[in-house]
Amino acid sequence: MAVTDTKDERIKETSRFRQALIRPELGGIVGTVAVFTFFLLFAFDSGMFAAQGVMNWGIVSAQFMIIAVGACLLMIAGEFDLSVGSMIGFAGMMIAVFGVVLAWPMWMAIIITFVICLMIGALNGFIVIRTGLPSFIVTLAFLFILRGFTIYIPQTLESKTIIGGIRDAAEGDWLAPIFGGKIGAPIFQWLGDAGIIGVFERGNRMGEPVVDGIPMMMIWALILIVFGHVLLTRTRFGNWIYASGGDAESARNSGVPVNQVKISMFMFTAFCATVFAVCQVMEFGSAGADRGLLKEFEAIIAVVIGGALLTGGYGSVLGAALGALIFGVVQQGLFFAGVESSLFRVFLGIILLGAVVLNTYIRRVITGER
C-alpha cells in the first residue's frame, strides 16, 4: 500500500508554540487581557476594582453569559435566534401574569413559564427544520410576535405595560430563591467585619457589607458555562452539535440526528433566556414590556467576539463566556471611566469589528487556509 510521506515538503514550518496558541478562545483571551489592562490603567481609582465595582461588572457580565451560552451552542449548531430579547420580556411577563395577576403559587408560575418558553423555542426550531427557512427570518418573526404579546397581554389585563409585586408574591416560595437569592452571605459578612470589603455606613443595613452574597444569577452563569462546555467538548451530543452546524447534510448522512440536535439547541437557548428572565424578575420584582430589548444582538455579539463562526460549526463556550465578560466589563467600565455614554455604541462597534477580524485570522490558521 502506498504510504504518504510523513513530512510534506510543500508545507512551510509553523512553530509548535504558535500551534499551541492558536485556538478558538484565543481572540477572547487576548481581548480580555486587553480590556482589563485598559481599565486598570484608566479607571483603577474609580472603584471599579473594589468589591462593589467587581460585583457590578461581574453581574452584568453574568447576565450576558447566561444568554451567550445558549446563543453559542445554537450558533455552533448552525442557527441563531433573534427572538432571545423578546423571549426575555415575554417570559418575565408570563411569570407576572401567572404569579401576580392570576395569583398562582410562584413555583407553578415559574415552571409553567419554563414549559411555555421551551415550547416556543421548540416551535422556532421546528419551523426552521420543516420549512428549511433561514433561522434569521423565522426568529425575526418571533421577535415581533413575542414582543407584541408582551405588550398586548398586560395592557389588556391590567391596562399597563409593567406588572409589579412579584417579589411579594414570591415570598416564602421554595423555587423562587433558586433564581432570585444570594448565597455565601456569612463569608461576605466576615469579609466585611474584617474590613476587607466596605460596609454600609448608615441606614437600616448599617454594618452589613456592601456586597452581601453571590447572586444566583452568577451561579446560573457558572453552571450554564460548565454545562455547555462539558456538553460541547466531552460528550457525543457535543460532537453532533459541531457536526450539525458544520454541514447538516453530511451530518445527517453520517447518522447524526440533526433535526433533534437543532431543535434541542433552540430549546436550550429558550431555556437560557427564561433563566435570565426569571432571575431578573425575582431580583427586581417586576416585569415590563421593555425588558430584554436588543439582548439578542448582545448575545450574538458576545458569542462572535468569543470566536464562534456565525455560519456554524465552530466556536467554544469558554470563548463566548469571555466575550460576555469583555462586553460586560467594557459597558460598565466606560461608565466607571466616565466616558460620554453615547460613545459606548461606537466603542462596541469597533471592538466587535476588531474581535472578528482577529478571530477570522485565528480560524484561518487553524483550518490551514493561511
Partner: protein, 289 residues
C-alpha cells in the same frame, strides 16, 4: 472640595427629550463647581438601569440623582446606595411617597400619573369627550401612565385610545391620520413628547384639523412651541426638565457643602404653557425648555 454627582435616567439613547436634562446638569455643574455625569440604559431597559445605579454607587460619588421609573426594580439599588452613604435625589418620574420610601433626600419632578390627570381635567373643562393618546414609547411603562392619568382625568375609559405609534415620524403622522379618519368623533389628542407631537402637528396640518381639534402635549420642543403659537396646540404641559436636573445638583452641592436642604419636595410641573409668554420658551426650546 471635589464633588461628583451622577444622574441616571431610564431613557434610551434615542430619546431626544432627555437632552434638556443633560444640559441642565451640565450648567448646574459649571455654575456650582461640581462634576456631573449623565448615564442611561442604551435601550431603555429598566433592569439595565438598575445595574447602572449599582455601578454609580460602586464608583462612590457624592450623590446620585435618578428617576424612579419602576419602583419595584429600582428600590433595591437605590436603597443600597443610600445605605452606603450616598445622597440620592429622585427626579422626573416617581412620587414623593416612593422617594421617601427609598430614603432619598427629596423628590423633584412631576409624577406622571398626576400630570396626566391634571391634563385630563383641564381637557375635560375644555370640552374633550373622546381622545387619542399617541404613545411613541409603548415599551416604556412610565410614559403610558400619562395616558392613564389623562383618561381618568377626563373620566372615561382608556380603552384602545392609546396608540402604539412607533418612533418614525412619517408612520406616526399617518397612523394619526388613519386613526382620525377611522374615528371621526375624536375631539381631543394627547401626545407624550416631541417625538409624537411633531408628526401629529404635521398630520393635523395635513388633514385640516389643526386648530379645530383639541390638542394637548407633554413636554416642549421647537415644533411644539411653534404649534402653540399658531394655535394648533392648545397647551403643552411643561414639567420643566431643566429644573429637574438643575435643582438636584444645586441642592446636593449645598447639602454637601453647608448642610442646608429645602424642607419640601419640588414640583417642577405640571405647568401649562399656552400662547401667552412664549418668548423664552421659544428661545430655549429643546435646550433648556
Amino acid at each position: 472640595d471635589d464633588l461628583t454627582y451622577i444622574l441616571v435616567s431610564h431613557a434610551p439613547d434615542s430619546d431626544t427629550w432627555w437632552n434638556t436634562i443633560k444640559n441642565g446638569i451640565a450648567l448646574a455643574g459649571d455654575q456650582v463647581g461640581v462634576s456631573v455625569e449623565y448615564r442611561n440604559p442604551p435601550t431603555g431597559d429598566i433592569a439595565d438601569m438598575a445595574r447602572i445605579i449599582e455601578q454609580a454607587a460602586a464608583s462612590s460619588p457624592d450623590g446620585i440623582i435618578t428617576t424612579l421609573a419602576d419602583f419595584d426594580v429600582l428600590q433595591g439599588p437605590i436603597t443600597a446606595a443610600v445605605d452606603q452613604g450616598i445622597d440620592v435625589i429622585i427626579m422626573n418620574t416617581g412620587t414623593p411617597e416612593q422617594a421617601r420610601e427609598v430614603g432619598a433626600l427629596m423628590y423633584v419632578g412631576q409624577p406622571e400619573y398626576d400630570a396626566g390627570f391634571a391634563a385630563g381635567q383641564r381637557a375635560a373643562g375644555e370640552g374633550v369627550t373622546k381622545f387619542l393618546c399617541v404613545n411613541h414609547a409603548i415599551q416604556q411603562p412610565t410614559v403610558g401612565e400619562r395616558c392613564r392619568g389623562y383618561a381618568d382625568g377626563l373620566g372615561i375609559e382608556l380603552g384602545d385610545a392609546m396608540m402604539d405609534s412607533g418612533t418614525d415620524p412619517a408612520e406616526i403622522k399617518n397612523k394619526v391620520l388613519a386613526y382620525l379618519s377611522a374615528n371621526p368623533d375624536v375631539d381631543g389628542i394627547l401626545t407624550l413628547g416631541p417625538v409624537s407631537a411633531d408628526p401629529t402637528i404635521a398630520a393635523l396640518q395635513e388633514n385640516g384639523m389643526a386648530g379645530d381639534i383639541h390638542f394637548g402635549t407633554f413636554d416642549l420642543g421647537e415644533e411644539i412651541v411653534k404649534g402653540i403659537k399658531d394655535g394648533t396646540i392648545n397647551w403643552g404641559i411643561d414639567q420643566q426638565p431643566f429644573l429637574q436636573a438643575y435643582m438636584p445638583v444645586v441642592i446636593l452641592a449645598n447639602w454637601d457643602r453647608y448642610g442646608v436642604l429645602p424642607g419640601n419636595n419640588i414640583n417642577s410641573g405640571p405647568g401649562f404653557v399656552t400662547k401667552d409668554g412664549l418668548a423664552k420658551v421659544e428661545e430655549f426650546a429643546g435646550e433648556f425648555r
